[in-house]
Symmetry: C2
Subunit: 124 residues, 2 copies
């Protein structure tokens, strides 16, 4: 698949809530995932598909998603950006029970036909 | 200035059309600017404040800007993203006279308190 095909497929899957299918089919085994923020239990940098899949499973299990959009892809060479916009209510943590809008920019890097790096840009 | 202060200032200046002031005050002398696309007269990669300022002057001289928005900043470490959304009519080139929407993600990297790299993600 070309970078454009991978990018289009990722957006299509995320638009329909199939984020885990995107991880299983488009991500490298050695994916590196970089959040803007992290802590001891959820470090900002995670490596490997199992860790990244686990982070996503945790997120979906612990947020009620009222609305989600994925705008893009916005390509440049072997990278592309996607704009995610969520309306969620966290089930845990200091924001538990509070409906919140979360907008972020994600940047993906392709290597050898797979997504090898994802980086998320946002404020809390 | 911190990364957050630089990011907030850049967005503030771009929201009010003061893009050239942002280049003059926030950019490194050795800024590297990376477009998604380029050609012989307007290469994708440009280096140095004079070249980047010239590219911006050319763009403003050759586009009628009907509306412009800058959404962000979206930070991660020493980088931040901004979402630009323009309604423009180009004055030159194959799209001359055609009102067009241009949405792009810009990614900025800070080094030593200045913006040292800007990268733009978009499709044409």
């Amino acid at each position: 698949m070309t970078t454009q095909e991978i990018a289009d497929r990722l957006v299509e899957l995320c638009k329909t809530g199939k984020n885990l299918e995107a991880i299983d089919t488009l991500f490298s085994d050695k994916i590196v995932s970089v959040e803007a923020l992290g802590d001891e239990t959820m470090p900002a940098v995670m490596e490997g598909r199992a860790a990244v899949r686990g982070k996503n499973e945790w997120w979906f299990a612990n947020h009620e998603v009222h609305a989600a959009s994925a705008d893009g892809p916005f390509p440049n060479g072997d990278r592309f950006a996607v704009i995610f916009d969520y309306e969620v209510t966290p089930k845990v943590g200091p924001q538990a029970g509070k409906r919140t809008r979360m907008k972020e920019v994600a940047l993906y890097t392709i290597e050898n036909g797979k997504i090898a790096r994802e980086e998320f840009f946002y404020s809390m």
